[in-house]
Subunit: 334 residues, 2 copies
Amino acid sequence: MAVTLHDICKATGLSSATVSRVLNNSPLVKDSTRERVREVMAELNYFPLTSARALAGKRTGSIGIVSPHVGSGFFADVLVGVDRVAAERGVHLMISFAHGIGDEQELVTRFISQRSVDAVILINLDLPTEFLTEIKNDRIPLVALDTPAVTRGIASVSIDNRCGARLMMTHLLEHGYRDIVILAGPENSYDSRERLEGCREALRTAGLRLLKKNILTGSFMMESGRKLTRRLLKSRRPLPDAIMALNDITAFGALAVLREAGLRVPQDIAVCGFDNCEAAPLVGLTTVAVPFEEMGSRAAEMALDILNGKLKEKHIIVAANLLVRESCGCGSCD
Amino acid sequence: MAVTLHDICKATGLSSATVSRVLNNSPLVKDSTRERVREVMAELNYFPLTSARALAGKRTGSIGIVSPHVGSGFFADVLVGVDRVAAERGVHLMISFAHGIGDEQELVTRFISQRSVDAVILINLDLPTEFLTEIKNDRIPLVALDTPAVTRGIASVSIDNRCGARLMMTHLLEHGYRDIVILAGPENSYDSRERLEGCREALRTAGLRLLKKNILTGSFMMESGRKLTRRLLKSRRPLPDAIMALNDITAFGALAVLREAGLRVPQDIAVCGFDNCEAAPLVGLTTVAVPFEEMGSRAAEMALDILNGKLKEKHIIVAANLLVRESCGCGSCD
DNA sequence: CTGTTAGCGCGTTCAC
DNA sequence: GTGAACGCGCTAACAG
């Protein structure tokens, strides 16, 4: 049914070796031959079979992505970057979402053991070190994107969380705010821990201390932001000057509750986030911009470069920049 | 290096056929044998090679997704649905984003001709009919998701756009609004055309007519929403009662400009959207909820069912329901 | 129920 | 520069 390499041989009178060579851009082919083969391929509408190439050539021509969640714009942005590079280099993308704990490891293992992909990008996956060192032996390129540094030993692309948080906190202090409540993520979240540390550093620099009672621990979800903020409002403490959410989603939850409570942002209380997700500009949220797309493209480049032996292993840290909008109080200054 | 089926044969003393049978859950194997094979596989940490299975078995075990854009939450939501079904049925997902016109066709062709995938889901891809009928001959299952009905001939999952728009427009009319401006998408957008038609129907039912001057054509992007709204405000016509954007993103653009102009929503002017994207609840946008995730899972199910010969071809139309929040004026009624 | 035997379509040594 | 021959790891008849 489908036209195979063999058909090209018959049509050109050449051997499979030669045809295969033009397929793989080998220089060991006379130009005139190459052209003739290409023409016939086009005429007959020939496309090499992916699985056959993979089996014979030990290259699948695709890279895998394993990610725990989706839906939060974060993933989509990263994907855009990965896809751009993948398209440039002519490889496909295979995606798997982990649905639960444990699932993650299975997905990664499957990708690798079944040789479904040539390289794997792990997004936001906090995998046990033993597991990582184990699969490293399978010597297929692994790149960890936005993943704990525990993952040392495998290439990584991460965010300069501390710096971003420091910038944000410093900005709030410059506004004159002193009573600042932080809405943190889960304690096992690497991003959250690092961002918290950045806050602490900024405060210390200003001669202040980060008080435990000013840290409210949540889960980085919108509902969590709502809950923490409601609790804050119900408590007998005076309204803080500002709420610094360690991710945008949490900030959105806070904004919703504040609005429902009839409080104005930033007049009554300032709010800021972290991530600069798609919806942040819609509500004028001051936040920290993270170049997710760039992270994706960098990760893809690294994965492919390692695959081609052009690179050993590398750790990239992308900058996170302050992005001032209105919710911190800047809009109302003028 | 890697352990192969052959190793399992040696270890169990069985033939490759039998081992292959347990791999494929054939009932033609004695239970005790099957168990023994399974045990050895587990011990030796055996995983069948994807490419070898694909080559020999004519099944890649993955389905392809081709989509023009990404980033708009829409895609991510659909993906969640597709992924759920794919995971349930043990298939992988290959994703390709079209970067420009023409590119789309190439991506689809590659997926099919290279037999990289067993089925393809086309998301929001307005492909020429000739092209579709041509690739249909390759008899690999195709499912069009949110794609023009022109695509008749291939299975499809689409939104009841007209009904959704009718509900929305009717709701605005019930608010007493009469001067309603519609921010439409590009004229070649199927969704936009259908939604516009729904608006027209609702108006007709109310004994009104859809005036040309009340239709502002844009591109379904945020910046487009801003531009159209700015133009609206600058024109000498009186402020309309409501703006009905035919997608949320455009509505967000409108909201931003209105806010900048010091106008209050919904007190001064009502605004509504269509899609119920992730950010819609954040700004209290009244919109039409589209079950994107369900669309994704339905599409995946159809693709796999067609592949397994359990289904011929089918056209699913999912309902789009009115989702009332505050931006239409309902919040301020109470 | 299990084994034998052929390939699936392509890459890759080697020779020539 | 090109060709012949073998094998990648697995599935699928067929035979028993």
